[in-house]
Structure formats: structure tokens, C-alpha cells
Amino acid sequence: MLEKFAPLFVDDSEVITHSFVADVALKSGKTLALITLDNLKDHTRPTTLGPLTLKELDEVLDAQEERAKNGEIHGIAITGKPYFLAAGADLSKIGAVEKKITGRLYVELGHYVFAKLGDSSVPTFVFINGLALGGGVEIALNAKYRTLNSAAPALGLPEVFLGIIPGWGGSYLLPNLIGIKNALKVIVENPLKQNRMLKPKEAFEMGIADVMFEPQRFVEQSIDWADEVINGKKVKRPFEPGTLERKTVWPAAVKMARGMIKDRLGEIPESPFVALDLIDAARSGTRDEGFKREDDVMEELVSGDKFRASMYSFNLVQKHAKNPQGAPDKSLARPVNKVGVVGAGLMASQLALLFLRRLEVPVVMTDVSQERIDKGLGYVRAELDKLVEKGRLDPDDRNRYSANLSGSLDYQAFSDCDWVIEAVFEEMSVKQEVFGKLEQFVPEHCILASNTSSLSVSEMAKNLKNPERVVGFHFFNPVAVMPLLEVARASETNDETMATAMAVGKKLRKTTVIVKDEAAFVVNRLFGVLLSEQMRLWMMALASRTSQRQLSHWGFQWIRLIY
């Protein structure tokens, strides 16, 4: 190991992923060295690739190379502990990179170690047995051959989503393996679609792996396949780009992607454009030149504010969302076995649909006229049918949800509800009236939720006998798609109500955050600031087109939609 990497190995807090070696006797009589990446933690702790992990892998690879040269082994394969290949670089380490130089070293170390898979004197394989993200995918790309478990939960290169780029060879190796269009999808497009991952079938069809096996005997079948390759089997790479693709399609595709991203996101986010530069450059030159380019750009990116901000928001959304701050003890949550929805308009109908599908309990809707109720019910049933048509809902479940749905003009229908949510007109007096009337019918334990986007929940509750059961429960449109849910705690709201609201939010599979009962809560308040900023620019007599350009430069394209 090169002396220069020494500064990376001083941190002893890393959860090391070990590289265990076992010799496998192949059917051909030859021997395969099988390396298992395993952090010796249970299945809830994915393996990661920190500096000490890479150091151990490097030593193991050197030892195997030595054995290969002595003719003791005829191939080297790497796979992961059950369910994981590797979830990439140790982000806790990379997020902590303060010094440019250490960040660069970590990137260089990955290149230094992984390159040994490409440079080995014998065939090298990665058996992608489970989750492979970022560096996990790149370790596979550096090997000469790849097998893939059809039940691996996901593959992906999320770097661009996090404000960096695939920096352990991915930006060079991937387009050269699977062609420019597929590579753009994996490296740039998917990360920008809410960090979309690949399913194994998709990854295989793109050519990321040479062969795919079912999970039950994945390792065994991968070994047999490796045996065939070691003994001369030719492996076809249908998407490997040829001269023509490199000269014509490649630059055109990169240019087009650049234009699209600029339109959608503006020019402030750096990583997609850096990634595009790298991908563009990958069409010629050597692997090591490609690795060097990755080193150079990563040095800047990992020490930049944008990456740090990305890591902050990633941690916020991924980690803290699982344990929302300020949430009372989960055990206080009450069961919700029947739901009422007041209102049968578009928002209310979307809420009814979501509760039906996620809580799988009876949902009763009401409104001011039978006609409006029928319209709401009709909407929900039509949406269920559409889901069945698209193959996203089992017909049996459609029947179940449809049977669970009812409408009533009479509030008596709410008498056995555990949860009622209102989505009526945004007018304080109307909301107060609805809650006041509901209170006469619903059982004492029933939670009263409001989908208001801006009114005071405390104000809505103040005249009630039991204001402690009222909570703000603010969805975003379209309800089925938008991941966020704001839960507003009003002045009298008690812990049982909050716990129940958080539990319901979780069952609805929303990212549930607790917000103060202040005007417009958080999201719409921020939105308001943006809006008024644009107004201000306009008022300052700047041409409206200039203000639009200004905003779109920052990526706030969508704000134009409201004019």
C-alpha cells in the first residue's frame, strides 16, 4: 500500500467491512478465490467501503494476485454478505471530509484498490448478490465480469443526487460498458428523479451484468459460470459502444442531456454537469486517465458547500425521517379502524383513496349534497379501477377497498369512526362549524384532523368540548405522489393525538414532520417567501422575464407555472 494513503487510516471509528477469502474447487478442477465482503453486523447494517475496509481489501487482492501468479488460483471473485454487496463509500466519512486533500486521497484509494480487479492476471468477477449502491456498483464495474442476483433489492449510482459524481471508476467504466444512453440514465437521469434505483432485471437488460441468476443458488451458479469463463467461455457485451457510437451518438446524447438538465434545474447544481463532462470525456482515452479526471473533480466536489448541504438534507430525510423529532411515545397511538372524510371534492377524494389503500379500513365520505358525495365516490372507484388496469392493484384488493368505501349525508355515519379528517373550504368559520357538528356524533376517542394548508388549527379547536383531539394534517397535491406530510400540533393537542397522527402518517407511507401551528406551516411559508421575492423583483421594475431567468437559473422553474 502506498505511503501517501496513511493519513486516511488514522480514524478508528470505521465499521470495517472485512474481506474473507475462501478457496472454491471448480468443476473444471481449477480454483477460484472467493472474497466475501462482510462487516459482521446483522442484516440491518449494510456493508460500506471506508478507508480501512479498502486497505484490507487491497491486502487481500495483493495476496490473491501473488497466488494467481504462482498458479494456485485461476480466478478471483468478490461477493457480499447475505442481502448486500456494498452500499458504497462510507458517507459518514466522506461527509466529514474537511480537507480537500483527504477527500481526494479517499477517492484515489478506491481507484488504487479497485484497479487491481481490472489489472489482475486472472479473470476477476463480482457476484452482485444484493444491494449495490455507489461504490458497491463501482467495485463490480472494475471487475472483468459480473453476475447479478435477480432478487437484489436495488442497484444504483446515487452520487449525482448527493452532489458528487461516481468517483471510483463509474463515470468512465459504465458508459464504456453499457453505452452512452444507458449510462446517462444510470449516472444522471435516475439520480435526478428522486434518486431512482434500478431493479436487477433492468440493470441486467442494460448490460451492467453479464448474466443474472435466481437467488436460491445464486452464489453456486455464479461460481459455475465463472468456471466456464475461466475455461474460455466468450462473454458477449451487446451494449459496449463501437467507434460509430463514440463519434456520433455519444457527444450528441451528452449535449442533449445537458440541455435538458439546464432547462429543468438551472445551472446552479454542479454535479450533474460535472458528471456529464466526465461521461463525455470517457468516450476516448485510457481508464487511468478517466480515473484521474474523477480524482480531480471529486477533490473539489467533496469539499464544496453543495455536497455538504446535500449530505445534510440526505441525513435529514433518510435518517431523521425515521425518528421524527418531537414525536411522542409511539405506544400512545390509538388504533384507527374506521376513517371519516368530510368533503367529497378533489382533495377529499384523494385523501379517501389514500386512507383506503394504506390503512385498509372502512372510509366514509360526506358532503353537502348527495350529488357531490356520489361524484367523490365515483372518482375514488374510478381511480381504483385505473390502478387495476395498470396492474398496480390486485383486483381482489380493489373489491375490498371499494366495499370499504361509502358515502353518507348523515353525520351519524361517523359515530364509530376513530379518525375524521376534514378537507372542506378554507374558511375558519366553515371548519369550526364542521368540527362542532362532528363532535356531536363521533366517539370520545376519535381524532379530528384538518387538512388546512394555512389556517390556525388552535383556532379551529378552541370552541370544542375536546380540543385536545384536534390536529393539523396537511398533505400536498397530488396526494398519492407527494411524499411530505405536515402534522401541526395545536395549542391543546395532547400526546395521544400526536402519536396517533404520526402513526397514521407512517402507515400512509408519508415523510411525516411535526410543525408548529403557525400560519401556512413550513412549506407554504417558504413558498410564500419565494413568491414575494419574485414579486419584489418585479416591483423593482425589473423586467419580468429577467426575474424569471434569475429564478430558473436557480432551478425554480416550477414557479412560472403559477402565473
Partner: protein, 395 residues
Amino acid sequence: MISKDVYFIDGVRTPFGRAGEKGVYWNTRADDLVVKAMIGLLDRHPDLDRSAIDDVAIAATTQTGDQGLTIGRTSAILAGLPESVPGFAIDRMCAGAMTAVTTTGSGIGVGMYDMVLAGGVEHMGRHPMGGGADPNPRFLSEKLVDSDALNMGCTAEKIHDRFPHLTKQRADAFAVGSQQKAAKAYEDGVIQKDLIPVSAASDSGWQVVDRDEPMRPETTMEGISDLKTPFRPHGRVTAGNASPLTDGATISLLAGEDAVKKHGLKPKMKMVSFAFAGVEPEIMGIGPIPATEKALAKAGIGIDDIGLIEINEAFAIQVLSFIDHFGLEDDDPRINKYGGAIAFGHPLASSGVRLMNQLASQFENHPEVRYGMTTMCIGLGMGGTVIWENTGWRG
């Protein structure tokens, strides 16, 4: 009454592992062992229509945890068989897989099945013998059985008591022979061809298991003469002349005559007859004797017509009692030609199909032999025997 010929088409197994924390399968589930064997077997018949399998019978002695939940059905689903293929669980302790074969074979015989999978599993590391059992107190209070009846080692000691001429020396010699025959069979590659290698997770990465872990080819008479006799002081049964505690799974494909034609199968053996019989639970090891008498009578042949015998070596002494009864020699070349459970191990409910695999393999190499049999002793005083005809017989 419909009557169809029943064929043993093919059988495989996982390599066997030593039970317990140090064994290769400590971190591998029992149902996964079955699934791997099942897929390995089906992979040998890639063109076989999976949906034409009428049932999946998997035996396990302790049917809880990863051996519970109707393991014939769970393993069929886990192996990716079509949902239309049903499955069930079977238990006759050591003869579980054998009973899976005879039961589904009977179904084929009366024309109700065309093709079935039958096998067994026992992860004795995860499921120690008798684990979770709750024997009725009447067994002891009414002296229905002796307290020794539930301890297999004690039942083996009792065979020595009953037949004093079957000495420890003879048992040890038989055991050493078993290890040597097994080692020779490995050298000749006749065992490995029916093994499905298993990748097993361990605390030091994946290990590929492609050999039987319990084997001790270095065993000598001297080496085992002084081993402890754990079942009674100054006893005769030792770890050297008994089968070790083992993890492993076996599976076979059976078919009726119509299915053989329809699917173009190449049968290895034809089922001739089978029988199970009961003996005193305290001396269960002699069970193969009456079971064999019964099966021979049903087949209308005698012991002299049997050219190859696969008898399960739960204990060497129990094999000796069989040999003695039928007037054979301890080193009769017809008996366990490729070695037995003393060397390979005896994962209770899975062993029956291992016997069949080895018999089928010998049939292939001995076209002059027409009939063979698989036989084994069973806890609580039983024995089971299946007589087979060599489909490659050239008489």
C-alpha cells in the same frame, strides 16, 4: 384397481455437514437446504415441465421453526415451482424421506400422481434430537416403553446385550470399513456426482460446501478402540461406531410409467415392494429385519435375490444384527459398497433418499444386478425397507 409402475428417476442431496455451531451449515436454514437440493435436482432436468409435478413431499423429524410450516409446500414456493404445485410434510423420524418416497410412490402406483418430488431434511444443529418433544407420561408410568427407548444410543447398546456375539470389535471393524469405503467412493467420484454444492454463509464469508463434512477417512481400529461410551459406563457404542449428528437435505424425482413416456424420462430404478414394521422400541435397531422380511415376501423373492443392499448405519451394531439375521458376512461386498451413515452422517429424515441415490449409482455400475434394497431402522422401534429393480439390468 389401477396399478402403475413406479420409477425412481433421479435423486440428489446437499453435502452433509456436521451439526452444531462449528458445522458448515450453522448459519444456513433447513428449508434453504431443501430448496437448494430441489433446484439442483430440477436443473439436471431442464426440459421437465415443472407444472406437471403433482406433489412435493418433504420429511423432517422436528417440524418447527425452519423445518415447520408444512415444509413440502414452503420449499416448493421458495424453490420457485409454479404455485399450482402443492406440497406436504411427512414424519417418520429417520425414515422420513423413505416414507416420502413410499407414500408418493403409492400415489403413483394407484395412478393418482404422475410425477412427484420426495425428500427430507434434518438440521440437527438447529433441531437437536427430541427437541421440543413432550412424550406422554403413560409411556413410562405404564411401562409401555423402557426409559432407554427414547435414547437411540441406549437402544443400540441393547442390541449388543441381546446378541453377545456381535461384539464391539466387530462393530468397530464395520465402522472403519464404512469410512474406508466412503473414502474410496469419493476417490472414484461416485458420491460427488449426486451432490448439489451449497454456498453457506459463515462468520468468515461464504463457504462452498461440496463434500460431506463428517467423513473421517483416517479412522483406524486403534484410533476408535478407546473412545468414550457415552450411553453407559463400559458400553460398546461410541462416536466411532455410530453415525454423527448431521445437517443435510435430500430429494428425489419419482414418476409413473405414463409420465416416463410422456416426458421422456430415464428411470434409474423401479420400485418393487416396500414395507414398514414395528419392533420393541427399546431395541429399535433391529427394525430393518422384519421390514425386510415383509418387503421380500411382498416381492416374492428371497434375500439371495438381492444383489446390492443400502442399509442405514445409524449404528454399526444395528447393521450387524441385520447381517447376522440374514446369515451374511460382516464385509459382504453387497452391503453399503460406497460406505454409509457412519462416514457420511445421518441427518435423520433425509437419509432415506441418500440410500436410494447410492443404490441407483451402484445399479448403474452393476448391470448384472437385478434387485437391490434400501433399508433403515427408525426410532420408537420400527424399520422400513424398499426393494428396487435395476432398470439397467441386463440379465
